[in-house]
């Protein structure tokens, strides 16, 4: 099909290709060739050319009525009906002066446009230094094609610094159809979309929670490696909020610091704020400095105001890490805390934890020796809750054997953990507990291939059976407090783990065999077109270790649920994914999801997804029965429809519906979307309203194209993702 991004002649965005000027050719970038009716040269000093002058130097071309070249300072001045053209720029002017050495050029009364790109305008004076920058005084800029005066910027000066990909306009007045609309003393905008800048345009919303809601982001690119986006927000029901997003990239440290502040919200009179700091830093290739800190002023911050800095969540991570990593071992320090919204009890704080992990070749064939260690100090903000220090050591021996046809991995480990607990009166717990558990694990797999034709296409099918035996003896651990242990997901990927609980406070006894297999269909150029995996655990002895408050009705049977995972992309634009956990005694599905997508072109997609889950398998705390649909479809070349619809079949109500339309002109676009979505509401006592809160809103978005405008599909996607359940392409095949 036609590549939509390349506009066709006659379509709204057609930019006529530039007609190259008829000038003599030169053999290299320094040589200058001048054609003229007549020429007058004074050797080594001055040269005058008159009559249809056409000059070129490498890829710079110029035509004018007359020109003069001063050979001492190598300045070429062209006057009268001057046309200038280089790789980027096309200019009509009355006088151009250019330095033949530095290529610096100054043009007066210029009418310019860019070579084959959108963007044109005029300027009283225009300085061009092709490698670095372009500066215009008394300038007009518009990305609209010739003849389209939809909008333009008039500014006292516009500076475009090429390698920073930014343009800075001062005293900028925005015109819509030559009518001045609003004034900005300082306005900087990206002229290439190298750096993901997100939405930089005024966004207007009206919602039941905030009334009329206008966000006008200002982007200020202070230096190549840091920038700030200030977004003042006016809400008729609540007042003014200011969001500051500061991003930095310096000396190996990359991150962002965000602060959102709404003084005395008119609805509840409080000051409401959010702070978010994320740093991903490296010093050399070994040291890592990671931080992820967020804090909000109150429980309903996200559901009332949303956030431009982070996605809404009900648990705000406050974590710092320093890690040292080498080829065979790594070590690190971790500090961890959470701000939990609502009345739910916050987990223990980890203040601090030292961890170490190493794996070395022993030189005896492929035998490796490993050692893991962890020292953690768990504290709690609630003085009545038990706290403790945990010391864990885990030496291990691994013998990995592999040939193309298969592998056999043997592993023996010793899990030695010591607890020093302050039980705070909890009679179940002991102050000193030592737990020593050996673990034996052997996993083997084989790789079979065969060629077959299916549905008329030739495939190579693989069949990869795997089997694992795991043995960990039983030890009563009820005298150990729960700090960081919870049930792990029992999907296909969880079947071959040696742990049933995360963390270390509960190590489930195991005398079990896990059997599973994966089959892949690889097409002619070895791309995965279908993959099915299945696995199940067979308990030779039922596992007796449970988490204290979790009902353990499920596993008196001798088998785990059957876990399946499937991905299919047989024809080019149809995708299917499914994950199932089926109790094969009762035939009932404990947990399952499926998604089907039709994605014929970049901007056309329709996805249907379904998720089901019962709470009794330990990970879900309530039943999930949810069907969803996402659509992004062009109705006409410049009118695009997006839809998102999610329904809770458990409570028979819809939890999110978005209907949006984007109208695209060549240099501007307009979005309108109607949205109805479920959000959490915390009562005064911190409890959540069991049925949440439905919020209706209408979003209007005006996009000035040509200002760092990334391609259309990302604006459609932003419209589709403005609810709680963003679009995702959950199909992962190796193609």
């Amino acid at each position: 099909d036609i590549d939509v991004s390349q506009p066709l002649p006659g379509s709204i965005c057609y930019i006529p290709p530039t007609v190259p000027l008829d000038t003599p050719t030169t053999t290299n970038n320094q040589q200058i060739a001048v054609n003229s009716q007549n020429a007058k040269l004074v050797q080594g000093k001055q040269a005058e050319f008159t009559g249809d002058v056409a000059a070129s130097q490498g890829q710079r071309h110029m035509q004018s009525d007359r020109a003069s070249l001063n050979q001492q300072d190598q300045i070429l001045i062209a006057q009268g009906h001057v046309r200038y053209q280089d790789k980027v720029l096309n200019v009509k002017s009355d006088k151009i002066e250019t330095n033949l050495k530095s290529h610096a050029t100054s043009i007066s009364h210029a009418e310019y446009d860019f070579n084959g790109q959108n963007g044109r305008g005029s300027a009283k004076s225009l300085q061009v230094d092709p490698d670095k920058a372009m500066a215009m005084e008394q300038a007009v800029y518009t990305p609209c094609p010739p003849g389209d005066e939809s909008w333009s910027i008039n500014a006292s000066s516009i500076h475009i610094d090429k390698n920073r990909n930014w343009a800075v306009a001062r005293n900028a007045v925005f015109h819509v159809h030559n009518v001045p609309v609003f004034y900005l003393p300082y306005f900087s905008y990206p002229i290439s979309n190298k750096r993901e800048t997100g939405f930089l345009y005024p966004q207007f919303t009206s919602s039941s929670k905030n009334g009329f809601d206008l966000k006008t982001p200002f982007y200020w690119n202070m230096a190549p490696n840091y920038d700030v986006t200030l977004t003042p927000r006016e809400m008729s029901k609540r007042g003014q909020q200011l969001t500051t997003n500061f991003r930095y990239l310096a000396a190996g440290q990359e991150g962002e610091l965000d602060y959102e502040y709404l003084p005395n919200d008119r609805v509840n009179g409080e000051n409401r704020s959010l702070i978010h700091w994320q740093n991903n830093g490296r010093i050399g290739s070994h040291w890592q400095l990671l931080s992820n800190y967020s804090h909000v002023s109150d429980n309903n911050y996200f559901s009332d105001l949303g956030s431009l800095s982070m996605s809404s969540t009900d648990q705000l991570l406050q974590q710092g890490q320093v890690n040292y990593r080498d080829a065979t071992w790594n070590a690190g320090l971790l500090l961890n805390n959470y701000q939990i919204l609502g009345s739910t009890h916050a987990p223990h704080q980890v203040l601090p934890e030292l961890h170490f992990s190493g794996l070395w070749d022993t030189g005896l064939g492929s035998l490796q020796v490993g050692l893991k260690g962890q020292m953690s100090n768990f504290t709690d903000s609630d003085p009545t809750v038990y706290t403790g220090q945990r010391y864990h050591m885990e030496p291990t021996l691994i013998l990995p054997l592999s040939i193309p046809g298969g592998y056999l991995n043997n592993q023996i480990s010793l899990l030695q953990t010591y607890y020093d607990q302050n039980t705070k009166g909890d009679t179940q717990l002991k102050t000193h507990v030592s737990r020593t558990l050996p673990e034996y694990r052997v996993k083997a797999g084989l790789n079979f291939d065969r060629n077959l034709t299916w549905l008329g296409n030739a495939y190579q099918q693989t069949f990869e059976p795997q089997v694992q035996y795991l043995y960990i003896p039983y030890k009563n651990q009820s005298d150990i407090g729960i700090y960081d242990s919870a049930a792990l997901e029992q999907d296909y990927f969880g079947m071959f783990r040696d742990r049933r609980f995360s963390g270390l406070d509960r190590i489930a006894d195991a005398n079990q065999v896990t059997a599973g297999a994966t089959t892949r269909f690889l097409n002619a150029n070895n791309e995965e077109k279908l993959r099915l995996s299945v696995a199940q655990i067979f308990y030779l002895q039922p596992s007796r270790v449970h988490l204290p408050n979790v009902s353990s009705t499920a596993n008196n049977s001798d088998r785990s649920a059957l876990a399946l995972e499937g991905d299919m992309n047989i024809t080019h634009d149809w995708f299917f994914h499914s994950g199932l956990q089926v109790n094969d005694d009762t035939g009932k599905v404990n947990k399952g999801n499926a998604a089907l997508e039709w994605h014929p072109t970049k901007n056309k997609l329709a996805q249907l997804n379904y998720r089901y889950g019962k709470p009794n398998d330990g990970t879900l705390s309530d039943e999930i029965n949810q069907i969803g649909m996402k659509v992004s479809w062009p109705l006409r070349p410049n009118v695009h429809f997006i839809g998102s619809y999610y329904r809770d079949l458990y409570l028979h109500r819809n939890i999110e519906s978005i209907l949006g339309v984007q109208y695209d002109a060549c240099c501007w676009a307009f979005q309108v979307a109607f949205q109805r979505s479920l959000s959490t509401h915390y009562e005064a006592n911190g409890q959540t309203d069991p049925l949440g809160e439905i919020d209706n809103s209408i979003h209007f978005q005006f996009i000035l194209k040509g200002l760092g405008f990334s391609d259309d599909s990302s604006t459609y996607r932003k419209m589709m993702n403005s609810g709680r359940l963003p679009y995702g392409h959950p199909f992962y095949l190796n193609n």
């Binding site: 648990q315 974590q319 080829a327 079979f448 065969r450 700090y483």
Partner: protein, 143 residues
């Protein structure tokens, strides 16, 4: 039924020596990939040399999105995504893109936030292992 035990390594002889450049040389992904490359009979050189293919591996990025919500509107399940990309330049300097995208389901639980953070760390480790395997399979598609 026609199945035979695989007798040749996935990666063909074109890559029996390889120069791997990673922006994060000691990350779990890079170490897992080096281990799997060695198991696939690939010798890794640590300096560029003529007609040895070069594999430039960018650092991975992880993200998560909510995929289901409870009746009170709080997050129920989310999907963790792991994406990494790179470019392979063969000895006869053809360039091939490598891109891996993996997803895993994850059930959040505010009451056990610390335990869920441990599970996420475990999943991230498993994902970098699976990504290394996927990269090996994508190298196998280059012939």
């Amino acid at each position: 039924c026609g199945f035979h035990l695989r007798d040749n390594y996935l990666i063909n002889s074109k890559f029996h020596t390889l120069y791997l450049v990673s922006s994060d040389p000691y990350s779990p992904l890079t170490l897992a990939l080096k281990d799997k490359l060695r198991r696939n009979n690939v010798t890794l050189v640590d300096a560029p040399s003529p007609n040895v293919p070069v594999f430039v591996l960018k650092s991975p990025s992880t993200s998560s999105r909510v995929v289901s919500v409870y009746s009170d509107g709080t997050d129920a399940e989310s999907e963790l995504s792991y994406t990494v990309s790179g470019t392979v330049t063969t000895a006869d300097n053809q360039q091939y893109p490598i891109s891996v995208q993996l997803h895993r389901d994850f059930t959040d639980d505010t009451e056990q936030a610390l335990a869920k953070m441990r599970e996420q760390q475990l999943i991230d480790k498993e994902l970098s292992d699976m990504a290394a395997e996927q990269i090996i399979r994508q190298l196998a598609t280059i012939h």
